[in-house]
Amino acid sequence: MSTPNGNGRVITMGQAIKEALAEELRRDPTVYVMGEDVAEAGTAFKVLKGLVDEFGPERVIDSPISEPGITGLGVGAAMTGMRPVVDIMFGDFSTLIMDQMVNQAAKIHYMSGGKLKVPMVLRTTMGATRRSAAQHSQSLHAWFSHVPGIKVVIPSTPYDAKGLLKSAIRDENPVVFFEDKMMYQLKGEVPEEEYIIPLGVADVKREGTDVTIVATSSMVQVSLAAADKLAEIGISAEIVDPRCTFPLDKDTLINSAKKTSRVIVVDEGYERYGVTAELASVIADGAFYYLDAPVKRMGAMDVPIPFSPVLEDLTVPTPDTVFEMAKALCGAN
C-alpha cells in the first residue's frame, strides 16, 4: 500500500491537484494550463484559485468556450515543444473534443512512425449525484480507455491525484486525467516533499481475505465504506484501486483475485461495454482457476443521469449496494 507515511499534513483533493500543477509549472517552463475560467475564477469548481497569481495569465490561460479548439491547440503545442494541460470543465463535454483526442492526439505518434509525439494532459471531471442532470454528470473515462495511444488516470485520493498528475504531465503521451467533482473536498494525507506515482501501478487500499473489490475513483471511497460494514458481519474485503484504466496493472488485480477467490468490480461509468467489463474479463482470464464465483460488475445504471435526487441516487453504486453484492457473493445472509 502506497498510503503516505507523511508528516500528517492533510489537504483536499482539489488542493492536491493544484499543488501538482503548481510544482510542474514551476519546474518546467513549457507547461501551461488552458481552459474556460481557469485563471481568476480558478475553474468552475474553484480548484485552481490562486494559480494565476503565481504564474500569470500567459501560463494559466482563460479560453473562449471552444473545447475542440483548446484541445486541438493543445495537441499542436504538445507536438512542438510545449506541455499543455487542457481543462475540460465537465467530462460530458468530451463529446465535443473526441476528434482531436481520438483521431489526432492518440494516433499522431504511431502514424508518424514515432517521429512526432503529443505530451499533453487533458484534465476533466466525472461523477454523478451532484444534481446536475444528464449533460453534466456522466463518467466517460471508458471512451478514452478504448482508444490505443491514450493513457487514462482515475485517482481516488488526494495523495494519488497529486503524484499521478505529476507523472501525467511528464509523460510523453496524451493522458486524460479524470477528477470526480464530488471528491474535490475529500481530505487525505499528502506529504510536503515532492513525490511522483508512476502510471499503471495499482494500489491496495485495504487488505482483506474473503472478497476483492476492485474500485476506481469515488467508488474506492464507496467500497471502503462497504468494507467497514462487511467487517461487522465478519467478511474481510480487499479494496484494489487500479488508479489508471490504461496502462492497467493487471497483475495486482489478478493476484488479489487469486488470494480471495471472489471479485466485484465497481466503477461509476455506464455498466454496459464499460470499464467494469474490461476489468472483469482481465481478472476472469488471469485468475480463472482460483475463482469461486463469476466476477461481478457494478457500474452506473444504463440510463441518462436523471435530475431528480430520488432517481439519481438509484443510478450509482453506494456503500449499501456494494455491501449487499459482496455479502451475496460470499454466501452470507
Binding site: D37, P64, A134, D302, V303
Partner: protein, 342 residues
Amino acid sequence: MAKAKSSKPAGKGAGKPAGKPAGKEDVEDLLQMYEQMVRIREFEDKVNELYTSAKMPGLAHLYIGEEAIAVGVCEALNSDDYITSTHRGHGHCIAKGAAVDIMFAELLGKAAGYCGGKGGSMHIADQANGNLGANAIVGGSAGIAAGAAFSAKRLGTGQVAVCFFGEGALGQGLLYETMNMAQLWKLPVIFVCENNMYNEYTHYNETAAGTLAGRAEAFGIHTEEIDGQDIRVVNEAAKRLVERARKGEGPSFLICNTYRYHGHHVGDIDRAYYRPKEEELEWQQRDPITILADWIIGQKLSDQSVLDHIQADVRSEVARGAEFALNAPYPDPSEVDTNVYA
C-alpha cells in the same frame, strides 16, 4: 482574465421603436409583455429563495435582468413556432407559455414537472408550446433550432424557429456550421444572441475577437444589434425578423445587449473579482420592467394601479406554484429507467 472595465449600459444597438401612439391592441400587447416579464422576475426570485433555503436540488442560472429578450421575442411568435433555449432557460420557457407550477415541480425534481423530474432546471422542454428544450451544452442547440426550421420548411408549415444563446456560445464551432447551412438553404431560423457580456466569469472581450455582428454577416445573414433592455425595441425587431423568415427570406441574427443581475448561477455570490459592483448597479438603472412601466405610464396607456394589480396577481400565482411543487410527490423509483428509448 483582467477585471472587466465597466461597460456602458446604454445598448449599443440602434433600433428606436417608432414613436407612434399606441392603439388599444397595442396596449393589450404591452400589458401582456409587462405581465410576462413580471412573471419571469417573480419566478426567478422564488427560485433564488428556494435555493438559498436549501429546498431546491442543484443549481439554477437566473435570467433576471434579461426578461425583455425572451418576452419581446416570444411575443412575436405563434405558439406552434419553435424555440431552443439554454442553461439560463426559465425566461424563455415562461415567455413561450409554460406554467410556473409545473416548472417549479421540475426544478424540485417532482413527478408533476414538465419532464417528470428527469430534466431539472437546465433541461425543461415544453413541447406543447414549441419549446424544444433548454440545453446545458453551450451552443448545443444551434443545430436543433436549424433542424426545426428545416422541418418547417420541408413540411411547409410556415413555422419559424428561434435559437436563443448567450454570447459565450460564439466560441462554439457548431454555431458557424449551422449558420452557414441556414443561410445556404434559407431556413426560417432566428439566432438570438443574448449578450450579457460574460461567459461565466470572463468578459466577452477576452473570448471573442472581432465583432459579434461580423460573424453572421460573413455568411450574408441579415444581422441586427439592439438594446435588449427595451422590450419595445426587441419586440419590433423580432416581428421584423419573424416576418422575413416566414416569407422565405431566410435566417437572421439578432444581438441583444443585456445584463444578468445575479451571478452566473445562484451560488455565484462574490462577483467583484470579475465584474465591478458599479457596473451591476449601473445596469440595474436600465431595468427592462421599469423601462416598459415608465413608457406605459408616461404615454398614459394605463395607470400604475393596473400594473400593481398585475404584479400582485402574478406574485400570488408564483407563490401558489411553488407551494404546489413543494408539496408534490417525487417520481416513483420505477421511473428511473423509463423513457430511455422511445
